[in-house]
Structures are given as structure tokens and as C-alpha cells.
Amino acid sequence: MNQSERDYELAGRWLDGEDVELSGAQRALAEEVAAGVERVGEGLDVEVPSGALHRVHVRFVRSRRRRASSSWARRAAAVAAAVVIGAGVLIFTLPGRPVGEAPSPSAFAESFLQETLEDVDVRADLLSEELADYRVELSLHQAWPLEMCFQELEEEMGQFDLGGSGPERDRAEEGQEELPW
């Protein structure tokens, strides 16, 4: 039996609970799909391994607390920076300030902020990017770190070709296939 796009559309809307009129064939199609979903669904159900949901929740709570505490640390660092900058600005602007060559308040603020916040952020970003890259690389190549070290050494030396074209390299050359979805 050949169904048209229109048959499928009407059957789908009917299954969604819309008030649509179906022909006998369309009704049979809708009922066949509903029965199929039920029959297949029984086989698809999965028993959740014991403790899995608990582990997920514990990891979630830890992750939130870590994020919250790092957010507080950032705020505290920002407040401390503001206090020091304010003090610096006051020292150099109040009457009776020390005479002689002194860095401008903006230069002072810049160097302080660079020291306290930017470096930490940049280092953290670099580390997390590096970690993400390794994760992706490991999952794509399924190579152990030792194998990856060998590959890197091989590439760096250039003049030696120990492995030829291994499966990992072939996979890397193929690149990722774009999903239509």
C-alpha cells in the first residue's frame, strides 16, 4: 500500500490528537504506527543500572558547588583589585602625595589587573581547551597517550616514517562527516 505525504500528515495530526477526518486507509496507517510504537517501545526500554541516577546527582551537586565557589573567588578578587586600585588612585591624587616619578593610576591599575585576573583566566582557558582537545582526540583516534606521543615525535622528526598510514592516521585524514540533522 503506497501512502502519500498527505496521508502521513493527516495520520500524524490525528495521532497528535487533532480533530481531523481520516479515510479508512489513513486510519489504518495511523493505527499501524501507534501499534508499532507500542510494540517496539517494550523492547527499547532500558533498566537504569543501580546507583547511576545517584552518581549523576552527586556529580551535578559537586559541579554546581565548584562553580559557585569559583564565582565567589572571582568576585572576591575583583573587590580586592578595586580596593587596591582605589587606594593607589588616592595616594597619587590626594594633596601632599609623595613627590617624584610615579606610575600613572591607569598604568598601575592595568598591571594589577593583569597580574590578578587575566593571567589566571587565560591559564584556566588554555588548560580547559587543551583538556577538551585531548578528549576529542582520544575519542576520535582511540589512541592511547603513548601512541599519540610516538606519532607526535614521528611528525617532529620528519625524516623517519615508522608507521606508514595506520588506521588512526587514515581516520584523522578523513575528517568528520557532517550529519544531515
Binding site: 501512502q3 510504537v37 517496539v40 523492547g43 537504569v48 543500572p49 546527582h57 554546581r64 562527516e177 550529519l179
Partner: protein
């Protein structure tokens, strides 16, 4: 529960996990074929909820909304590590996380019945694996997420007729796999 989660109450997230966790876990497991990935994705989903819940408009369709986020997570995971995604049938795990031998030995039923049941599951997983990615996701979202066909059409940005046609074809393949298992009894 949703209001509590919005307010950031940890207990509310635990309730959400108890209510939707098993279905989400099933969806993630069937979509990735791995218990490890299913657990990992479920954790990631909770973290995304913290970000997205404030923007959620409560129209009484929280489950489908949750599963649309889950579908995005699966899509991203597949894109990121397509080579590493192992369909369920190739995993040494059965649906309940045990190896075939453990699954059979651990049940109070005759070994033959256990083997047949596992065979049927393996057939179904292999058939699921053989489906085209979009069709597989549509069937899984319909079953685990209980999304309407219109909601599935919105996620995949295609007409509702196309969704039903794909689901219909996919179900024929899956039912045939299940019936093969039945016949071998």
C-alpha cells in the same frame, strides 16, 4: 518542582532526576549505545537545565522541552565524536548494563529463555543501529520523550508527514527484528 529548580533548590533537581531520569537515561543509552555516555549526558543535561530553566515558558509541556535539549546534546555528542559512538549492538553491554553471560546467569529464569530474550534485544539493537540517524532519533524521541509528531517535526525542521513516514519505515524494520526473535522461540 520546576519552580524549585528555577530557584536553584538542589532537592528540586533531585526530584526532576527521579521523575525524568529513567526515560532520559534510556534515550541516551539507546542513542549512544553506551552506559557511560548515557550517565555523562544525563549529568550534562542537568547542568544545561540550570542555564536554560529561567527561559522556560511553562505551557505544561516540560517533558518534551527537556527531551528537545536532550536531542541537541545527543546531536552535539555525535558530531564531536562520531567515530567513537558505538551502536548498542556492538557494545558488550545489554540494556541493563550486564554482559550477556551475567544477564542470563543473574535471572531466575531458565537459561534458554534468558538467552532468547537477550537475542531479541540484540536483534532490536542491531536493527536500531541499521537505521538512518534521523529516523532512529525520531523513534527514540517518540518513545522515550513522548513527543508529539509536531514537536518532533519542529526539532528536525521538517513537515509532520515526513516525520510519520520515517517513523513508519523505521518501525517496520524494528518490528521485523523483534519478530525474528519471536520466531526463533
Amino acid at each position: 518542582m520546576i519552580a524549585g529548580a528555577r530557584a536553584g533548590a538542589e532537592g528540586a533537581y533531585q526530584e526532576l532526576l527521579a521523575a525524568y531520569g529513567p526515560r532520559l537515561y534510556g534515550y541516551f543509552f539507546r542513542a549512544t549505545g553506551s552506559h557511560h555516555d548515557a550517565e555523562d549526558l544525563l549529568g550534562e543535561l542537568l547542568l544545561r537545565l540550570v542555564r536554560h530553566l529561567p527561559a522556560y515558558e511553562d505551557r505544561g509541556r516540560f517533558g518534551p522541552w527537556l527531551f528537545s535539549i536532550a536531542a541537541n546534546l545527543v546531536r552535539d555528542r555525535i558530531r564531536r565524536s562520531k567515530a567513537a559512538v558505538t551502536p548498542a549492538s556492538l557494545e558488550a553491554e545489554s540494556g541493563d548494563g550486564a554482559s550477556l553471560a551475567e544477564a542470563v546467569a543473574g535471572h531466575d529464569e531458565p537459561v534458554e529463555a534468558g538467552l532468547l530474550r537477550e537475542q531479541m534485544r540484540a536483534n532490536l539493537a542491531a536493527a536500531l543501529e541499521s537505521l538512518e540517524e534521523r529516523s532512529r532519533q525520531m523513534v527514540l524521541l517518540r518513545h522515550f520523550g513522548q513527543l508529539s509528531y509536531r514537536e518532533i517535526a519542529e526539532i528536525f525542521n521538517c513537515p509532520i508527514g515526513t516525520v510519520l513516514a520515517r517513523v513508519h519505515r523505521a518501525l517496520k524494520v524494528l518490528r521485523a527484528a523483534l519478530e525474528d526473535g519471536d520466531e526463533s522461540k
